[in-house]
Symmetry: C2
Subunit: 384 residues, 2 copies
C-alpha cells in the first residue's frame, strides 16, 4: 500500500509534510477543493492543476444518490470518471446525511434518510459507506461517523462519540481494498473531556491519518481552536491531521500553527459564486458598485488567471450581469488564494518563521484588531 506521511520540517507545532498516495505525492499543509458531485463547480481539472490544487474531495452522499457508486466504479472510479488524475479524498456521507438529507432515523445500525433529490429512503451504515467509498476509489476514505449539531448535550455527545467509535471499528472491518487509506474521525463537540476521550480512543486504532470532526458547525472560534489545540497535542506526530470543513483563511493560518495538515471547505468556491473575492485584507464584494471602475486586478499580488487577465471592473460587471464567467473566475481566484496561503505557510515552516508569517498575515487581515482566539492559537502552537 503506497501511502506514507513524512514530516520534513517543524516550527513550533506547525509541520511541513509530504503525503504519498497511490495517485501522487502532495505537500502539506494543504487545502482540498471540494468537488461535491465529482466536479469543483465551474472549474476544469486543468485549471485546478494550474493553480496548484493537489488533492480533491468528493462527497459520498451526493455520488451515492447520483450517478450512483456502481456507475462511477464502472468508469474507473473518481480518477477515471471525473478527469482529475491526482489524489482524491471522499467523506463518509455521515455529515451530509445530517445537513442535507431528511434524516429519518439514526440508531446503532446506521442512518435512514430521505434523498433530497427524489424522496427515496436510503440506508447508510458504516459497511455501506465503505462499500460506496471503495467503488468511488478515492486515495483517502473516511470512517462513517456522526457529526452532532452544535450545541448538543453532554449526554448526547457522549453517546454519539461512543457510537462513532463502534462505527469506526465496523468501517475498518468492512474495508476490503488495500490501496485506500482509511482515516478515523474524532468527535466530542467542544467538551474538552469528551474530545480527549474520542481522540484517544480513535488513535488506538493506529490509522494512517486522523480527522478532527464536529467543529466549524457554529461554535465560537475560541472553543473551536481550543479543541484543535487539544486534538493535535494528542494525535500522533507521524500521521496527517485533517480539520474537516474549515476553509476561512484566518482559520487555516491558526490551525496550521497548531499542527493541522489538511483542510477542505466549500467556502472559497461558494463565496466566489456569491460574488466575493478573497484578498489579504479579507473579502471584496464584487456586487458592490464601488468596484465598477477599478482597473486594478482583484489582488495585485495574485498570479491566477483572473488576476493576470481582468480588472475588478470587469469582474464586477460579470457578477452584476449574472454571467457564469464571474462565478468561474472568482472560484478560481479564491482557490488560488488559499493555495498561495498554504504555499506561504509551508515556506514559513521550512525556514522556521511560522510566527512571523502568521502575525504578518493577521496584521493585513485584521489591522489592529487581531482577535484573541487567533493569538491564543499561535501561543498554543508555540509561535509567540
Amino acid at each position: 500500500m503506497s501511502f506514507a506521511f513524512h514530516r520534513l520540517a517543524q516550527t513550533g507545532r506547525a509541520r511541513l509534510g509530504r503525503l504519498e498516495t497511490p495517485h501522487g505525492t502532495v505537500t502539506t499543509p494543504l487545502f482540498m477543493p471540494v468537488g461535491t458531485q465529482g466536479s469543483v463547480k465551474g472549474l476544469l481539472p486543468k485549471d485546478l492543476e494550474e493553480i496548484g490544487s493537489q488533492i480533491l474531495l468528493a462527497n459520498t452522499y451526493h455520488l451515492l444518490l447520483r450517478p450512483g457508486p456502481e456507475r462511477v466504479r464502472a468508469l474507473g472510479g473518481l480518477h477515471g470518471f471525473a478527469g482529475w488524475k491526482g489524489p482524491w479524498l471522499t467523506d463518509s456521507g455521515g455529515f451530509q446525511v445530517m445537513s442535507l438529507g431528511h434524516l429519518r432515523r439514526i440508531d446503532e445500525e446506521g442512518v435512514v434518510f430521505q434523498s433530497h433529490l427524489n424522496g427515496d429512503l436510503v440506508h447508510l451504515t458504516p459497511e455501506r459507506s465503505i462499500a460506496v467509498q471503495e467503488a468511488l476509489g478515492a486515495d483517502i476514505i473516511m470512517a462513517f461517523d456522526e457529526c452532532p449539531p452544535y450545541p448538543s448535550s453532554r449526554a448526547y455527545l457522549e453517546a454519539s462519540l461512543e457510537r462513532t467509535l463502534r462505527w469506526l471499528e465496523r468501517s475498518l472491518r468492512a474495508k476490503t481494498r488495500t490501496d485506500q487509506a482509511l482515516f478515523g474521525i474524532a468527535q466530542g463537540g467542544t467538551d474538552p473531556g469528551l474530545r480527549r476521550r474520542s481522540t484517544l480512543e480513535t488513535i488506538r486504532f493506529d490509522l494512517p491519518g486522523y480527522a478532527i470532526g464536529g467543529l466549524a458547525v457554529g461554535e465560537p472560534k475560541e472553543e473551536m481552536f481550543r479543541m484543535v489545540a487539544l486534538s493535535t497535542e494528542l494525535l500522533p506526530e507521524g500521521r496527517p491531521r485533517y480539520l474537516m470543513g474549515v476553509g476561512h483563511p484566518e482559520d487555516l493560518v491558526a490551525a496550521i500553527g497548531l499542527g493541522v495538515d489538511l483542510f477542505d471547505c466549500v467556502y472559497p468556491t461558494r463565496t466566489g459564486r456569491f460574488g466575493y473575492a478573497l484578498v489579504p485584507e479579507g473579502r471584496l464584494n464584487l456586487k458592490s458598485g464601488r468596484h465598477l471602475e477599478e482597473a486594478t486586478p482583484l489582488d495585485p499580488e495574485c498570479d491566477c488567471y483572473a488576476c493576470r487577465t481582468f480588472s475588478r471592473a470587469y469582474l464586477a460587471h460579470l457578477v452584476r450581469a449574472g454571467e457564469m464567467l464571474g462565478a468561474v473566475l472568482l472560484s478560481l481566484h479564491n482557490l488560488r488564494y488559499l493555495h498561495r496561503l498554504t504555499e506561504a505557510a509551508r515556506a514559513a515552516i521550512g525556514r522556521g518563521a511560522y510566527g512571523d508569517f502568521a502575525l504578518a498575515f493577521a496584521e493585513r487581515r485584521f489591522g489592529k484588531g487581531v482577535p484573541p482566539w487567533f493569538l491564543e492559537a499561535l501561543r498554543a502552537g508555540g509561535h509567540l
Copy 2:
C-alpha cells in the same frame, strides 16, 4: 487603416480568405462566438484561443445598458476590458432592441425602447449606435439597421429597407474613428426584388464589408438560402460577407458554399447550456438517460478538452446534476465543433474539393435524407 480582405482561393462560390484587422489577422470562412455582455458564457479567453476562436462578437444593446460604453472605453475598450486581445465585432444594437427591449417607437430618427433591466427609456439612433460602438472599440462595427420580423408585408419591408439605407448613410457620417471597419447590412426579407434592391443600394457605399441581415428569423430554409445565393451573387468579390445570426452546422456548410465568410450565433453556447452536444450526426441530448453509462467521448474525432478528458457518462452526470461545469464543457465543445467545421471547410476550399466536403458532411448529418435546400444551395454555389 489596417483593414484588408484577401481571397486566397476559391472553389465554385466558396472562398478561402484572410481578413486583416487592427487586432490581428483571421482566416475565413469562420464562426464568431458571441460574447453578449463581453463574455462568452462560462468560457475563459485562453480556452477560446485554444479551440481556435479568431474573433468575438459583443452586443451593443447589452453593453450600452450595462456597464455602459464610457466604462468600457475607460478600461481600454473591449480589448482592454474583456480579456480577449484579438479582433472583436460589435453589432449595432438594432436587432436586440427589437427582440429583447420593449420597443416603444420606431421612426425616421431611430428607436425608443424600454430597458429589459430597469425599464428606463433609451433612445438609439444611427449616431448613438456608432458613438457607442466607437467607445466599445471593436475592429468591425455594424451600421444601425432595422431587422423586420418574419413575415412582414412587402410594403413594410420596402419602407424599412429604405430607412435602413438612410440610417447607413447617417451611420457613416457619424463615424469618427478611422481604425474601425464599418459594415453595411442588406435587408429586404425574403422578397427577391427587395433583397436585390437593398443589396445593390448598400454596396454603392463601397464599404469594407457587408452583412446579409434579416434572415434566420423564422423563414423556411429554402427561402433563406435563395436570399443568401442572390446576395452573394451581387456582393463584391473583394469584400467579406457576413451572414448574421446563423450558426447551425448545416447552415454554415451551405452558406460557405454560396460564398459567405463570417457567421455568428448564440446557438453553440446556448444549446450547450441546455445540455446538447454538436456531433457530426447532429446533436446529442446529454439530459437523456442513454448516455449515463457511455465511456466514449462526446465525439471521438474531436480534439477539445472536453472530448480529450471526459466520457459522455460524466458529462451526462454533470448536466443531470445541474453542475455549471456541464454547461462550460458543452459550450467549449460546441464552439470547437463549429471551428473544426470551418477549418475543414477552409481546407476543402484550398484543395478545390468543397462539394465533396459538403456532401460527406451531409451524408453523416442527414443520412439518406439530405434536404433539398441543402443540395440547392450547393448547386447554386457551383459545387454539384
